[in-house]
């Protein structure tokens, strides 16, 4: 009987989960509704999508996905930037939560009762356990968003170099397709590799700049999408592609510089914190020595 109760609970939970999943079916991917059709998912080649050591983690994530756990659209774009499988990400969050729960359970007997603080030991364990368990679940997306922001900045730096060379190659009479491939060649950073992979992995019926637009959409790097739109417009309207690239390059340089300026201003503001720390430590020295002197004198 004691075994049947948890089994019945698990069965009920799974059944409820499947019913809810059926009621709120996930929306089709945006690419499929944007007129690109079913060929699109194969279009973007993502190297190292699931590294071999993370395969068990991905299996956990896939199981969670089957049970209806999903990542948000924003997280999906951030994961695309890392070429990281959604299943791996889900698996890491679930395993992190399980690990946190295991640690909280293992550490519970060693937590002091807290009676000296007027708190019950159970409350302390409960709060600590909640923080540890919810940490990966709540903190994971935040960590991912911060890492993705840094990675987009890195991508823009590489894309800036790509645009500079692209403009020169176009001015030298190289075709738009050839110039795109050639401009992505000199770099070996991950951003150049992603551009090269996208250009290599394109399928018949799509132009190179359309593939770049998809890469920009997938990773949510707007500058890449805008370049593709500008090239497309220039080709259709008979304008100079090189001028479009140069305009895009100037715009990107300006955006990058403004971002760097804002970051520098933030850093200048943050410099006040260590200054305050230095003053506090300096005064603390006199405080400790002075209090001791007073205690000894009086």
């Amino acid at each position: 009987m004691s075994v049947l109760v948890p089994l019945a609970g698990i069965g009920f939970g799974l059944g409820l989960c499947l019913v809810l999943r059926g009621l709120f079916a996930p929306l089709p991917p945006l690419q499929a509704t944007a007129g690109f059709g079913p060929r699109v998912p194969n279009l973007l080649v993502r190297p190292d999508r699931t590294p071999r050591p993370l395969a068990p983690v991905a299996a956990v994530g896939r199981t969670a996905a089957m049970l209806g756990l999903r990542v948000s659209a924003r997280e999906r774009h951030d994961l695309a930037l890392f070429a990281l499988d959604e299943a791996v990400y889900l698996g890491m969050r679930i395993l992190g939560t399980c690990l946190g729960a295991a640690i909280a359970a293992a550490a519970a007997p060693f937590v002091p009762s807290g009676a000296s603080l007027g708190l019950s030991g159970t409350l302390l364990v409960g709060v600590a356990g909640t923080v540890v368990v919810l940490g990966p679940a709540v903190g994971g997306p935040r960590l991912l968003a911060a890492a993705a922001r840094r990675r987009r900045e890195s991508f823009l730096d590489a894309f800036d170099a790509f645009l500079g060379l692209l403009g020169a190659l176009l001015a030298g009479g190289v075709s738009t397709e050839g110039a795109l491939v050639e401009a992505s060649a000199p770099g070996d950073g991950w951003a150049h590799q992603r551009i090269r992979s996208a250009l290599r992995g394109r399928m018949r019926g799509f132009e190179s700049w359309e593939v770049l637009a998809l890469l920009g959409w997938d990773t949510r790097v707007r500058a890449v999408e805008r370049l593709a739109v500008r090239i497309d417009l220039a080709l259709h309207e008979g304008a100079s592609v090189r001028d479009a690239v140069v305009e895009q390059s100037a715009e990107l340089a300006s955006v990058r510089r403004n971002a760097a300026r804002e970051a520098a201003e933030r850093t200048t503001t943050y410099m006040n914190y260590p200054l305050a720390g230095m003053v506090i430590a300096y005064l603390g020295f006199f405080l400790v020595a002075g209090l001791d002197l007073m205690r000894r004198t009086f």
Binding site: A107, G164, A168, G187, R261, L275, M278, F285
Partner: protein, 278 residues
């Protein structure tokens, strides 16, 4: 499960999660700049803390104060090195911009790239002088190889961009090279201007940091020497702990200022196959 084992498990878990997030797309290492691998820098960076610690240990016989003195010397050294690195980097970017401007001007009047490189190398001085003379000597034999080696020696994001353009020009693939170089020069000059503006804005914070550090050394050292009674608390159990904590906070704050003062260099995009070693 003991707390120690729980800590080990937690640590391994954190490392796995961090590795999972960060290590997916492997980032190739960048080639070190000559300055980064210079043994002299290590000797200079390590000698001062060792000397400071030895002198303080000899005088006070207190290992804790010796460690704090070493930490303080290392932190002040880090601040000085960060200042010097920033100054040298800005000078190099300005020199690169000037060189690229000269190249662009020569290209616009119809000079070949090799002639332009040779002409600008003759006049070169400052941080780029030696590298440009080497480039001019190697260029006639193997233009693209010489440019890539020049790129490796400079180890800078702006140099990468310029060399990419020049290599395309040397191979006859790039057109209107003067205009393309002019755009790069404008970008470099605007970036340097932004860096100078940021430095000017934070000069007040730097000056305050130097004043506080100077004030602390100038007041605390004589006080410790003259009034042993006042500082006697720091020779005992709890007082020693307080001294360690306050000293560590002070040193950590100086380190933080040094870290914040480092310039944000343009990221590189050098090719490994060109002998960069990355």
């Amino acid at each position: 499960m003991s707390p120690g084992l729980a800590g080990v498990v937690a640590g391994i878990g954190c490392v796995l999660v961090a590795a999972g997030v960060r290590r997916v797309a492997v980032r190739l290492p960048r080639p070190p700049s000559p300055r980064q691998v210079s043994r002299r820098v290590w000797v200079r960076g390590g000698a001062l803390p060792v000397v400071a610690a030895s002198a303080v240990l000899l005088f006070t016989r207190s290992p804790l104060i010796a460690i704090l003195a070493a930490g303080l010397a290392a932190a002040l050294g880090a601040v000085a090195r960060a200042d010097r690195a920033r100054r040298e980097w800005v000078e190099m970017v300005e020199a690169l911009a000037e060189w690229a401007e000269s190249l662009a001007a020569l290209r616009r009047v119809g000079r070949e790239l090799g002639q332009a490189v040779a002409a600008t190398a003759k006049e070169a001085s400052g941080p780029l002088g030696r590298h440009l003379q080497q480039l001019a000597a190697e260029y006639p034999v193997d233009p693209v190889g010489a440019l890539r080696r020049f790129q490796v020696r400079l180890a800078d994001g702006y140099a990468d961009r310029l060399v990419n353009l020049l290599a395309a020009g040397a191979l006859g693939r790039a057109g209107r090279l003067g205009d393309a170089l002019g755009i790069q020069v404008a970008t470099m000059r605007a970036d340097v201007e932004a860096i100078r503006q940021a430095e000017s804005n934070r000069s007040g914070e730097r000056s305050q940091g130097r004043q506080i550090a100077g004030l602390a050394v100038l007041t605390l050292v004589p006080l410790a020497v003259v009034s042993r009674d006042f500082t006697r608390v720091f020779a005992e159990g709890d007082g020693r702990l307080w001294l360690g904590v306050l000293g560590a906070v002070f040193i950590a704050c100086i380190w933080a200022i040094a870290l914040m003062g480092r310039p944000r260099r343009l990221r590189r995009c050098i090719a490994r196959r060109d002998g960069a070693g990355g």
